[in-house]
Structure formats: structure tokens, C-alpha cells
């Protein structure tokens, strides 16, 4: 018999989205049991790495407007955002900033005591709310600490969720492995919020935490949900070498320059109006173009790079506003931003795509919501603006948390528990993976897979590369890597790593297929063989459904309310 526990609401993932959802739910349903299940310890989620800011309109008295935030978001998305969703984000956000303040968030302040904001790429007003350059960290701390107030929240630290159990229509529970003891559990619940974050570790050069793998997405996919717009992967212009750790856009927001080997601020050729503060897709492409045209630098590892100049900001300003990246660049790269130019290059940073949801974050299965980076409610379209993601996590965390409680209070499930599904999942995991055998090292396969993604589906893409990439990945998938050499029960990270790899194959395939199918360039998706945006044929979202042989690809319309697509210029 499989061990079983029960909650009313299960929240899978403990990043910003998961924790915000937990608080919203705990407040709304004080008598309901809420379980936060996370494969890392709750406060160690990837969200702690977010650096630069959280977008919100706070200074309407000084000329900012919600309307402008909506338009910036839509334009930044290259008109693939669902405009009603973007509006919802911008309307809800200001009070969320204030709510965070009321919970103890150490926002950076102006001299008059009000919350300060900084410039960020693609915005027409400085509206990235910040707390030094550790925004995500402090937000996580504020939310985690606030969660401690609620007695109805329980934390399942280091539980790896493997699948979603439903009766074909309605959610019933999940299966999970408690990593500490190695025990396989079923967790029964009335509603589920998936907040498993992005999957940027599909790429080997990535700003993401090492735990940001697609197992959350894959679990939804296998349960029958669609993945939407997965071909849109954001490359942040400034990942520092050699580690790939992020140098926040806030560095340019505070006035940093990008320089090529002629010492020019080359952004003037590509986005004269916004210069370094153009949206990320544009800046990343500009860097790659410069490099390809021979105006880049070589890092001592042999990799091409560009320089980021912060020296003119001065030591004091860097310490005050960019202390985190100062620490990172000195420690990990031996470069002091007050004295040295930083070696940077575009780096995998965000997935616009995710589990297909509606404007409320509801998925195609009743009782399951998705929030945060794992979800794709299409607020970011084909390119997210910096600082809009933490906002999204917070807003849809709250929305889904409340809706899930409403749903739990209204619905009483009577269907019998589907034991056969649990048995099937147990078989998939233990016979298929844990007790599998083979002599191929799964870690090397993982390295090859992520290298392939880097090589073939980077800032600029083309048909040949993408197809080659897809072929390589399918070849890799066939090799005998499905085995776990570590046979121990307790804290078996080898097991978790192989489970992650398993999910990476399915999701990588969808990323590549989506990119192959989209024969246009839009936002973060830049095809050298189709350099123009093609609204006639591709102004739609991509959906991918699971199928044992090959994903089933479909399309989905874009919601356009006020803003007709126009050419995107900065």
C-alpha cells in the first residue's frame, strides 16, 4: 500500500508564485489545510535569484499610468500577449507592492520615505520597484516569513512531485517522493496550484538555479494539459562569464553601458531611442550581431563576449544599488565593476511559455491552476519585459490561491480514488527509471542535451540548426541513460537528477518543434531564415499536447483588445 497524506489545497512549487498563492489561500480559507510541496526546501526556490525589480505603476501623481504599463507590456511582447491578461497584471500590481510593504518587504526608499523605482528595459517610465539588487530574494523572504503566521500552511520540504492524478476531468491528487527518506507518497487534495517555475536548465549556459528543470511542466503535460508558446525562450543580454550568473538589467537601468571592441556603445545602431534599455530580445540580438560581425571580445575560456561598463557609476552607487552583482562579479569572475569591464554574453533566462491557462490561471483540468513562470497565461507573449515576471508570479499567485479556495468550498468530489493511476506511476518511476539499467552516464547525456539546446536554439535560430538539434535530442533520448546507480533510499539526488533528465527530453522536443513550426521572427524567437514578423500566418499561440510518439501541435488565438499590432521600434 502506498503511503498517503491529504490536504485541501496542494501547492506544488514554493517560489514567489507558490508562496503568494499559499498566503492568499490561507487567508481566504483559514480552516482548510494547505500543503506547499517543493523539491527544494521551501525558501530555497529559484525565485531568490531574481535581482532587478518588480514592475508596477506607483507614481500616477508623477505621470505614470496603468495604460502605459499595459502598452509597454504588449509592445514588448511583440503583440503576442493576450491584452486582457496584460491589463489585469498592470491593474492588480500596485496594491501588491503595497501589500508586500505591509508584510515587511525592505523596498529601497526615496528620501521622503516612499518606495523607490528604477529604469528597466522596454518601459516608458521608471517603474521597476526594487530592493537593492536582490528583489526576488527579499520578496521570497517576505512571503516565506509571512507564511509563518498561518497555522494552516504545511511545508513539505524536498518532496519531488512526479505526477498529477485526476479522473479524466477533475483533480484528485499528486504522487511524490520524499527525498529525505526516499518514500513514495500519494498526496490527496481537492485542488492543485502548479507553481513549479521555469525550465531554463534546458540550456547549459543559463542564469537559472540548478533546480530549474522542466519536471513541473512535464507533469502537467503527461496529465493531458497543453504547453503553450514554448518556443519563446528569453536570452538575457548580460550573463557574466564564465558562470552565466545574471548581471541584472538594473545595472543598465542605473546607467551602465554596453561596449564593443571599438569602445562604442553599439546599441545606438539598433535602438537609438532606448539604447541599452531596449527590451531584452533586441539587446541580445544586437550583441550577437556585433559578435558575428567581428566586434566582440574573446573571454579567456575562448567564448565570445561583450563588455558591460559600470565604472562611471562609481563605487558608492554600485555598492548602494548593485551590491549583489558587485559581490557576484568580484567573487565569481574576479572583476570589480567599479574598476573593470564585465565580460557578458546573452544567456538563457526565462521561458515565456508554460502550461496553458486562461486569464484566471485555470488549466484544462478542473481544480488545477498554474501560476508564475510555469504557467503561460500569455501575459508576456513572445518576449517578457524585465521586472514583469516577479509581478506575474505575485498577481497570479494571489488570484489562483483565492480561486482554488472558492472551488474547494463549492465542490465536493465523490469519485473513487484511481488506484490504477498511482500503480502506473509507481511502475513508470521504479521500473522505468529507478531500477532501469544501462551503461550511459545520464549526467553526460544531460550535458549533451543542454549543450545542444545552447548550440542550436540560441538567440538566432534557423531551420537547419533546429532540425539538427531535434535529431540530436531524439538520438540522445534513445540511449540507455535511464538508470539510477545510487541505490540508496535517503536523499537520493541521483534519482531526482535522472527524473529531471527524463522530463527534459519531452520539453526540449516541444521547444524545438515549436521553433521549427514558427516560420517568422517575433520577440525572442528570431529566425535568420524568416527575419520578419508574419502576422498573417503566425499571430497565434502554439499549443503542444502529450503523445507517446510525438507531441501534438495546435494553435490558439491571441486576445487583442485595444492595440492592433504595429511595427515594433525603440
Amino acid at each position: 500500500m502506498v503511503d498517503s497524506i491529504e490536504f485541501d489545497l496542494i501547492i506544488c512549487g514554493s517560489g514567489l508564485a507558490g508562496l503568494r498563492a499559499a498566503i492568499a489561500a490561507a487567508k481566504k480559507g483559514p480552516h482548510l489545510k494547505i500543503g506547499i510541496v517543493s523539491k527544494v526546501q521551501v525558501m530555497r526556490s529559484h525565485s531568490v535569484s531574481a535581482e532587478g525589480g518588480t514592475a508596477a505603476v506607483l507614481f500616477e501623481d508623477e505621470g505614470d499610468t496603468i495604460e502605459s504599463h499595459v502598452y509597454d507590456t504588449v509592445k514588448g511582447s511583440d503583440f503576442l500577449a493576450d491584452q486582457d491578461v496584460a491589463e489585469r497584471l498592470c491593474v492588480e500590481m500596485p496594491q501588491e507592492i503595497h501589500q508586500l510593504d505591509h508584510w515587511g518587504m525592505p523596498w529601497s526608499r526615496r528620501d521622503d520615505g516612499r518606495i523607490d523605482q528604477r529604469n528597466f528595459g522596454g518601459y516608458s517610465f521608471p517603474r521597476a520597484t526594487y530592493a537593492s539588487d536582490k528583489v526576488g530574494f527579499f520578496e521570497m523572504q517576505t512571503l516565506y516569513d509571512t507564511c509563518q503566521k498561518f497555522e494552516n500552511i504545511e511545508y513539505l520540504n524536498e518532496w519531488f512531485v512526479t505526477s498529477i492524478i485526476h479522473d479524466g476531468k477533475r483533480f484528485m491528487g499528486v504522487t511524490a517522493i520524499e527525498l529525505g527518506s526516499g518514500t513514495f507518497y500519494t498526496i490527496k487534495g481537492k485542488a492543485l496550484i502548479i507553481a513549479t517555475g521555469g525550465a531554463g536548465r534546458l540550456y547549459s549556459f543559463s542564469t537559472y538555479a540548478l533546480s530549474s528543470t522542466p519536471d513541473g511542466l512535464d507533469m502537467g503535460l503527461r496529465a493531458g494539459m497543453a504547453l503553450k508558446d514554448m518556443e519563446f525562450v528569453q536570452f538575457h543580454p548580460t550573463g557574466i562569464l564564465p558562470s552565466g550568473i545574471l548581471i541584472t538589467e538594473g545595472a543598465r537601468g542605473e546607467g551602465g553601458y554596453l561596449l564593443n571592441n571599438k569602445g562604442e556603445r553599439f546599441m545606438k545602431t539598433y535602438a537609438a531611442g532606448k539604447m541599452e534599455l531596449a527590451p531584452r530580445d533586441i539587446v541580445s540580438r544586437s550583441i550577437m550581431t556585433e559578435i558575428q560581425e567581428g566586434r566582440g571580445f574573446k573571454h579567456e575560456t575562448g567564448v565570445d563576449c561583450m563588455k558591460l561598463d559600470l565604472r562611471h557609476l562609481g563605487d558608492e552607487k554600485i555598492k548602494e544599488k548593485l551590491g549583489g552583482i558587485r559581490e557576484i562579479s568580484i567573487k565569481f569572475s574576479g572583476q570589480d565593476p567599479a574598476k573593470d569591464l564585465l565580460d557578458i554574453r546573452p544567456v538563457c533566462h526565462y521561458m515565456m511559455g508554460g502550461l496553458h491557462t486562461d486569464i484566471d490561471g485555470a488549466t484544462e483540468i478542473q481544480g488545477v491552476w498554474a501560476a508564475g513562470e510555469a504557467a503561460c497565461n500569455s501575459v508576456h507573449g513572445s518576449n517578457r519585459l524585465g521586472a514583469n515576471s516577479t509581478s506575474e508570479c505575485i498577481v497570479w499567485g494571489k488570484i489562483t490561491g483565492e480561486l482554488a479556495i472558492d472551488y474547494i468550498q463549492k465542490n465536493e468530489s465523490t469519485n473513487p480514488w484511481p488506484h490504477h493511476l498511482v500503480a502506473a506511476e509507481e511502475k513508470r518511476i521504479y521500473d522505468g527509471i529507478f531500477r532501469g539499467n544501462g551503461d550511459v552516464n545520464p549526467y553526460e547525456i544531460r550535458q549533451q542535451l543542454t549543450d545542444t539546446m545552447n548550440d542550436k536554439a540560441y538567440v538566432y535560430k534557423n531551420e537547419t540548426n533546429l532540425i539538427e538539434g531535434l535529431k540530436t535530442i531524439r538520438d540522445l533520448k534513445k540511449q540507455t541513460w535511464k538508470h539510477v546507480d545510487d541505490k540508496a533510499k535517503e536523499y537520493n539526488t541521483n534519482f531526482a537528477n535522472v527524473m529531471e533528465l527524463d522530463s527534459m527530453f519531452r520539453v526540449a522536443e516541444i521547444v524545438l518543434l515549436g521553433a521549427i513550426n514558427r516560420k517568422e521572427s517575433r520577440g525572442a524567437h528570431a529566425r535568420t531564415d524568416y527575419p520578419k514578423r508574419d502576422d498573417a500566418n503566425f499571430l497565434h499561440h502554439t499549443l503542444a499536447y502529450y503523445d507517446p510518439t510525438e507531441p501534438i501541435m495546435k494553435t490558439h488565438p491571441v486576445t487583442i483588445t485595444k492595440y492592433q499590432p504595429v511595427e515594433r521600434k525603440y
Partner: protein
């Protein structure tokens, strides 16, 4: 097209090598822990975490170690490195200046396996000191704005808000070495973080909680917590300032 290939340092000509000694312990069949030695290559920027993961990747998949962000912000990878508690991802092999690098699980935390330790106690004590703003109007109703707070007021507590809950301080503290009930520097520093926040009104209730026979008084200002803290939190300072309130030196 000049795409990036993986930035790995495996075959680089500048790589040097060291012996990495990893403490291994599996509760299922080991009585006590034992060291296993591996020869690993490193570059000047290679961190201890990368070296451990390299071992895991190429030599022994079964090394149990906790990690996530690899940039010293998640607090996962605390361990004893060459005798001192440090973050593995924030310790470069080159800065250790030694041909042998020894890694062991953190002291004063129960060991799950190899380098992974249990944190439940730390999370519990953290929760116990009420780590949130205490006042009546923390929940936003309608369109209230922020509580005003000047940059100077932020400076009073921001240092302590940098805590990543890595537990290194608790591992270094001499009281922690023998006192299983001591709240510990991590939680005490957080108590101070909230007490020092100009928005908070919960000072008295928090002081009451830590005024216990295994509370704040069991700190003797040994300072080891501050010396090992990777984020400059300086728990020793926070604790003494907090005690200043309790002794009536500060108000």
C-alpha cells in the same frame, strides 16, 4: 554562426588538480562517516560545489549534496570545508590555498546522508521568533499606500534581512555545539531584523519569546557566527543590540 558551446573547464590547459575528500555516510549501512578521495581538476574560478558536482557527474553519482542557486543566495550548500563552515558555491578552490580540500556535513545539524543535513530545527526556531511585521494593519484593505520609511530607517535592519538561512552561523557557534535547545544566532538575528524595522510593533512579544533559559542569554559573544556568515549579516551584532534592549541599555 558563433554560438556558445558549453563553458566547461574539463580539458582546459590551465586546469590544476587537487584531492577532494568527501565525507560519506549512509544511514542504511554505515556506522560512522568515512572519507572518499577524488582527484579533481579546477580553474581559478571553480567553486567547491562545482568540484563536488563534477565528482557526482563523472566518478560517483551517489554523492548526496544539497544545492540549487549556485550563486550564494538560496542557502542550500552550507558544509564544513577544510574545517570551517562555508557555502560550497561561494568558496573557490583557488582561495583555499591547499592541495587537499575536505568537505563534511555541517556540525550541529543532524546528518541525513553524506553532506546533506536536516534543517527542520532551524526552520522551527526561525518560525518561533515571529519573523513578520507585527501590527494591526498588515493586511491591505482597499487602496492603502506604503508605510513610509526613510532610507536611514531601512539601513537599521537591511543588513539582517540579508540572511539566507544557510545555517553556517549555527554550525559555528560554540553554544550550539553542546546546547540542543539554544535558539541560535540565525533566529536571534532575525528577531533583531524585525525589532529594528521601523514598521514593526512587535518588539515586546518577540523579546519575551527569546527571554528563555535557552534563549538569547546563551550567547556569549563568541563572534564565530559573524565570522562565518557569507552574507555579512553579523548575527553577533544583532544579538548584542537586541540584548541591549533587554538590559535597558537601549530603548
Amino acid at each position: 554562426m558563433a554560438q556558445v558551446s558549453s563553458i566547461s573547464n574539463e580539458q582546459s590547459p590551465t586546469a590544476k588538480s587537487i584531492i577532494l575528500k568527501i565525507s560519506r555516510y549512509n544511514p542504511e549501512h554505515d556506522e560512522s562517516s568515512q572519507f572518499m578521495e577524488f582527484n579533481v581538476k579546477y580553474e581559478k574560478w571553480t567553486t567547491v560545489l562545482e568540484a563536488i558536482l563534477d565528482v557526482k557527474k563523472h566518478y560517483d553519482h551517489s554523492v548526496a549534496v544539497r544545492y540549487s542557486c549556485r550563486q550564494a543566495t538560496c542557502g542550500s550548500c552550507g558544509m564544513i570545508i577544510n574545517g570551517k563552515p562555508r557555502l560550497a558555491c561561494f568558496t573557490k578552490i583557488s582561495e583555499l590555498d591547499s592541495n587537499v580540500v575536505t568537505v563534511e556535513p555541517m556540525n550541529n545539524f543532524p546528518v541525513i546522508r553524506d553532506l546533506a543535513v536536516k534543517f527542520e530545527k532551524l526552520f522551527d526556531t526561525h518560525q518561533k521568533i515571529k519573523p513578520y511585521l507585527i501590527r494591526d494593519d498588515t493586511e491591505l484593505i482597499s487602496d492603502e499606500k506604503e508605510f513610509l520609511q526613510t532610507p536611514e530607517e531601512v539601513e537599521q535592519y537591511i543588513q539582517f534581512a540579508n540572511c539566507i538561512k544557510c545555517g553556517l552561523c549555527n554550525s559555528a557557534c560554540p553554544t550550539m555545539a553542546t546546547d540542543s535547545s539554544f535558539v541560535g544566532p540565525q533566529a536571534l538575528a532575525q528577531a533583531y531584523r524585525y525589532v529594528a524595522d521601523s514598521r514593526d510593533k512587535g518588539k515586546d512579544s518577540r523579546l519575551k519569546i527569546i527571554d528563555d533559559s535557552h534563549g538569547i542569554w546563551r550567547c556569549h559573544f563568541a563572534g564565530s557566527c559573524s565570522q562565518v556568515c557569507p552574507k555579512g549579516v553579523d548575527p553577533a551584532m544583532g544579538i548584542q543590540l537586541l540584548r541591549g534592549y533587554m538590559l535597558g541599555f537601549r530603548s
